[in-house]
């Protein structure tokens, strides 16, 4: 069911150039996952985990980043989530999540690159919860620039905000978002 989407991830990883050492370790692990047995696109594949997709969206003036306040986690994050069976590829999954969480639909977003390329990759552990064992999210990250800034608050989201670059680190500290933002700003100027 996921086979064409899986091929698209293979292509994405083949053209991806990691920005630092941690990142290149993630890229290796991602390739291991996509070539490995099982269905790493299914949200029920826990050993070691599954792919997710997320979006780093620049405001139309390219000076702010789109973040959501995640209800359950109580944290500011970029929009993103699981890849569904009907998503044709990983970037489409990221676009769908942006629409569901922030109200910005596909026609509001200009992809940073065409054909699709990865902006960044990140692997983070999700602790055991309910019946789900601890597992990892292998997050495929894409860059976009928004055509308009009008957002609405979607499912599971407490707040949607365009955040000044200087503010991002304070609101959502961590190397992973910093690294992606750096890549985003670098490529948006190309």
């Amino acid at each position: 069911m996921h086979s064409s989407c899986r091929d698209s991830i293979r292509e994405l990883l083949a053209t991806y150039t990691p920005s630092d050492r941690a990142d290149s370790g993630y890229a290796d692990a991602m390739q291991s996952l996509v070539e490995g047995p099982g269905d790493p696109l299914s949200r029920h594949f826990f050993d070691p985990g599954h792919f997710t997709a997320s979006a780093f969206v620049l405001s139309p003036d390219r000076r702010r980043l789109l973040l959501i306040h995640h209800h359950k986690l109580g944290r500011w994050l970029q929009p993103g989530g699981h890849i569904e069976g009907h998503d044709p590829d990983a970037r489409a999954a990221a676009e769908r999540e942006v629409a569901e969480e922030t109200g910005l639909v596909r026609s509001d977003l200009v992809p940073l690159e065409e054909p699709a390329r990865l902006l960044d990759v990140d692997i983070h552990t999700i602790p055991a919860h309910g019946k789900e064992p601890a597992h990892a999210h292998y997050d495929l990250r894409f860059g976009f620039v928004a055509r308009n800034a009008t957002t609405s608050i979607g499912d599971g989201v407490g707040e949607v905000r365009w955040v000044e670059f200087e503010e991002v680190d304070r609101l959502s500290p961590g190397a992973s978002i910093r690294r992606a933002l750096l890549a985003l700003r670098g490529r948006a100027h190309d």
Partner: protein
């Protein structure tokens, strides 16, 4: 862009009679030019997979096919040579096609000296041009030189040597040389690093890294895996798990994966973590660590055995406490026939040292062990052995094994619990830590392969309770998991170890000293691990160190 795969496996399944599942539905695609290392326990199906891909084993379910026009070359663990030909003749078989082109080119060149019509001349010129293009395309003008370099680098016996008189190791090297010169699009190599010394290994690494075709290799040599491969294919319980990255990267990913699935750290994960920590250490920190081992002897002797048993997969009991003198050599000299093996060697081995003994085959390493335990005596100079020393040593050529006993009986003496020093452990668990899993423990000793016999010897030797272990090539037949476990075991053992090994990674991890048989009867005792030793040699010899050469001896006049 879709990739053109050079080889495809589809639901590949292999069952060994009567019902042992070796490969359980493996589906994989191989990219052109990929360099892949296969790892897995002994018996995990590594060789079987390679044989199926080589088209030698056709008794399987599912599908395995090479893409159109892809030439597959295979090095078996026990390759065969053409007995009608000498060494050079066998090697030349690898370049037969190219050789024919060159011969024809020369024939044509010679013909131009003879009178001929314009038409004949044009025809010859055309053929010559065509030949020239084909020879250019494979860059074969220096074929003689290429063959010579390959033969020298892999330390082949002389070209006119009779292949029926070669040792197993020499046969493998000739076969490897022939295969590499054939340059197939896909190379399948089953343990190509066995019987290669460090310098030939370095040459092979460089060669394969730059090889334009796909390379799939089974090896337990972790530097080789780290330096050459970009993918690791792990075989486990019949399944194949591809991992992107070299050996270190695999270790990293595997450790992460285990960390996520385990509540408490297993011994296996601890062992992986220790190796990973070691990889991440700077050379300086590694040096400090190995020096600290020598100082820490007293503490290690006193360490609680119970705590130690909980940490390691293989427990080596500490023998009786060692005094300050262990083994001292003074102007030790030994010859064999008319060859001088050891020429005025001096060394002093401190308690808790782990001495890696290295050198090409046949230079006198085993002879040194025999002298140390008193089975042979020096021709000159002396060996002084400390009063407290008790050896654990098996001379594998003489050791007696009962062929009718099972592996488990031979190692455990039929006891469910065995004593390792003051610690009692389950004997089946102990036997399985030497990669004898499940039904392998019930195999009759008489029916074991050479590699299995060596593991059996090792398991018996390590439980015997000496304070000086003499290990002769223990690493050759171990899979990577067992090797790692053995390293941890030695690092946690309070006592002295002298170990003959070609495994550079193993020596780097455990050795505090190197005793190097350098050729021309020179033996050098060096404080540091193999990497330190190599660095010093490079400083001394420059590039000459990396260029393999055949071993020479001084004449011996007793």
């Amino acid at each position: 862009m879709a990739h053109q795969y050079v080889f495809t496996l589809q639901q590949l399944r292999k069952v060994a009679p009567p019902d042992k599942i070796i490969l359980d539905g493996i589906s994989l695609q191989f990219l052109p030019g990929a360099k892949i290392g296969i790892i897995g326990h002994n018996g995990a199906g590594k060789s079987t997979l390679l044989k199926i891909m080589a088209g030698i084993d056709t008794d399987y379910q599912g599908e395995a096919w090479a893409a159109d026009g892809i030439r597959v070359g295979y090095l078996a663990q026990e390759p065969e040579l053409d007995p009608e030909k000498d060494v050079l003749g066998n090697v030349e078989d690898g370049v037969r096609e190219i050789r024919d082109l060159l011969t024809r080119f020369e024939e044509i060149s010679a013909k131009f000296a003879e009178p001929m019509s314009d038409e004949e001349m044009n025809q010859l010129l055309e053929e010559q041009g065509d030949l020239q293009d084909r020879i250019d395309a494979v860059d074969a003008w220096n074929l003689d030189r290429t063959v010579e370099v390959a033969m020298d680098s892999l330390r082949l016996p002389p070209g006119d040597a009779d292949v029926s008189k070669l040792s197993g190791g020499e046969i493998r090297r000739v076969a490897l040389c022939r295969l590499l010169l054939e340059k197939p699009d896909m190379l399948l190599l089953d343990e190509p690093t066995n019987h290669l010394d460090a310098e030939s290994m370095a040459w092979l690494e460089g060669y394969l890294k730059n090889y334009s075709g796909t390379v799939i290799v089974i090896t337990h040599d972790r530097y080789f895996l780290d330096n050459v491969t970009e993918w690791i294919l792990e075989l486990d319980h019949g399944k194949g798990y591809p991992w992107k990255g070299n050996y270190s990267s695999w270790l990293d990913q595997k450790q992460e994966l285990l960390a996520r699935s385990e509540k408490e750290e297993s011994k296996r994960r601890r062992t992986l973590r220790q190796e990973l920590e070691w990889i991440r250490m700077t050379p300086k920190a590694r040096q400090t660590k190995s020096k600290a081992r020598i100082r820490a002897y007293e503490e290690m002797v006193k360490e609680d055995q119970k705590i130690r048993a909980a940490k390691v997969e293989i427990l080596i009991p500490n023998g009786p406490r060692l005094g300050d003198r262990v083994i001292d050599a003074h102007k030790l000299t030994k010859g064999y026939g008319d060859r001088l093996l050891i020429d005025e060697l001096d060394f002093q081995i401190p308690p808790n040292a782990i001495v890696g003994v290295i050198g090409a085959n046949g230079v006198g390493k085993t002879t040194l062990f025999r002298m140390i335990v008193g089975q042979e005596s020096p021709d000159a100079g002396k060996l002084e052995i400390g009063d407290t020393v008790s050896y654990a040593y098996v001379d594998q050529s003489r050791a007696e094994l009962d062929g009718e006993k099972t592996v488990w009986e031979e190692i455990s003496g039929g006891l469910e619990e065995i004593e390792l020093g003051k610690q009692r452990v389950n004997s089946r668990a102990y036997v399985s830590s030497f990669a004898f899993k499940g039904s392998d423990q019930q195999k009759r000793v008489g029916r074991l392969s050479g590699g299995e016999r060596n593991r059996l010897h090792l398991a018996k030797l390590l439980r015997s309770g000496g304070n000086v272990l003499l290990l002769d090539e223990p690493t050759n037949d171990l899979d990577v998991d067992t090797l790692r476990a053995l390293e941890e075991a030695l690092l946690n053992f309070a006592g002295c170890v002298m170990v003959i090994s070609h495994d550079r990674w193993f020596l780097d991890r455990v050795a505090t000293h190197i005793l190097a048989f350098e050729g021309e009867s020179r033996v050098c005792f060096f404080e540091g691990n193999f990497h330190d030793y190599e660095n010093r040699m490079r400083e001394e010899l420059g590039d000459a160190y990396d260029r393999p050469h055949r071993v020479k001896f001084k004449k011996f006049h007793a």
